[in-house]
Symmetry: C3
Subunit: 224 residues, 3 copies
Amino acid sequence: MENMKSGQFVLGKEAEVAPNVILGYTYKDWREKLTIGDYPRIHSGSVIYADTTIGHRFTCGHNVTIRAHCQIGDRVVLLHGTTLEGNLKIGKGVKVMANVYIPSNTSIGDMVFIGPGVNILNARLPMRVSGLAKVVIGNHVVIGGGVTIGPGVNIGDNVFIGAGAVVLKDIPSDSLAYGNPARYKPLPEKFGKGNDPEQIFTGLDLWNQVEDDGSWKEEEYPGK
Amino acid sequence: MENMKSGQFVLGKEAEVAPNVILGYTYKDWREKLTIGDYPRIHSGSVIYADTTIGHRFTCGHNVTIRAHCQIGDRVVLLHGTTLEGNLKIGKGVKVMANVYIPSNTSIGDMVFIGPGVNILNARLPMRVSGLAKVVIGNHVVIGGGVTIGPGVNIGDNVFIGAGAVVLKDIPSDSLAYGNPARYKPLPEKFGKGNDPEQIFTGLDLWNQVEDDGSWKEEEYPGK
Amino acid sequence: MENMKSGQFVLGKEAEVAPNVILGYTYKDWREKLTIGDYPRIHSGSVIYADTTIGHRFTCGHNVTIRAHCQIGDRVVLLHGTTLEGNLKIGKGVKVMANVYIPSNTSIGDMVFIGPGVNILNARLPMRVSGLAKVVIGNHVVIGGGVTIGPGVNIGDNVFIGAGAVVLKDIPSDSLAYGNPARYKPLPEKFGKGNDPEQIFTGLDLWNQVEDDGSWKEEEYPGK
């Protein structure tokens, strides 16, 4: 882990960190070391800034960028090429696929899935009018691949957004949204009432290095 | 190539590998070394796992991620920031542009072009219902930039998918697909009957380091 | 900066270059060193080729790829995972967000904003018919996140393109474009007449290391 000496960080127990990772990337006026919980697995090419806090059982793919002042819960997965800009909050049990962009000020609940290539925005008139319009995403949301979520959009709990949708208005809880621009309707019964902890936390992934200990069963996750 | 010593790999002759490349990235239960054929050119920041096999004349851009158990044919090009998840198959003469996501279980034929920012999906109800719905893409397909291809979609031979389309249903051979959600019609005559080996294999790219030897002319490529 | 010794480059004064950066990446037949002006800030994982020229006060995020023969003006910002293929031109005061793909031959004016996940294309029938169809973008343009811009498209001055649009035809100056395929109408008055130098050049970013000197006020930027 020689390559990590320049950074400022505190790792929990049984950390697996690949070569070419930078932990605790510092910047002007940084204050606190990066803190990551137990059992993290962090793959090559990723950089995580100081002043960010991440929970237990964090899985980080390759070439991920996580900037400062992010608060990230337990059992979060972020895949390759994804960027989390700073000053944002992500709950527990959240899985974010590859090449996703999550801007500053975004708030994401618990047990959320975000497909590959999703872009979330935070400015209504970038370069013209100052001020950020943050996106707020509830619990148990599924966002399909290639989706764009416009600035200031609120997405309720248990919302399913179809692949390739362009979401420019708020989506109430228990809805299915789709299309460009996205419309929505009540979530059909076959979609269920929420995401399944079993799907998120147990080892479908060939590359899992650490057996899941099943502790999520005793922890408090929001009911489906 | 000191940076590559930690990996497990076999390279063919006249390999050009840049700094900051990791070849033969290992994981729990890996079995076979990464194998790559002759004349590969692999640019900085890319990582390729063990248990993957790649043919001759492979060109790999910067920050590409290729995971385990991929079978990749001869004369394949993958550009910057693209991810191939594991357990997938790509034929010969395939060109994949930048920031493309290809998930596990996908099958791609020969002589296919995939534009930048394409996302291919493999789960109908991610985090809700288990099981993968693999995408199958035929030969001589052209997929425009920014396209999303939904889970379980089959795309026939000689299909052209317009930029920005969201493809949620099967597309039969010799079709042109476009829009969100994508519709299709018979492929207009001006689109031709297939991709041109001359376009794929000869050196339009300023950065080609190795002259193409023209051997593709004698090899068997699927007729247009 | 030991990691940069293999490259060929000239940096202006007060340069800040992170670890894992490659400057002046060479290729067959390269001619000139990479040249970058004063006060550049270049973050980890990025690679910039020889034969490219970049102006003063350049800000480059993580894992950015900039290939050869790019001409890039002063006060340009490129964020994480963005690719600039070679042989292209970008004016001054341009901000490009994360995971953007800009292909060869593209021409971008001054004071342009490009949102995250934008894909610009340059071939009408890739792999079928040779020849590039370059995209030309005017001054004071705002391109929303997740937008696709098709080959050969011309975009005038002071155009605003809504998030997720798929632009396949030319857009005249002072228009608002949106949808898939994109339509357009005259730009509503509330969008203003151009991008604001104050928004682009002053330090909203938490990670700015160097105070802006306000010199843009005396320089010549195209009027709004």
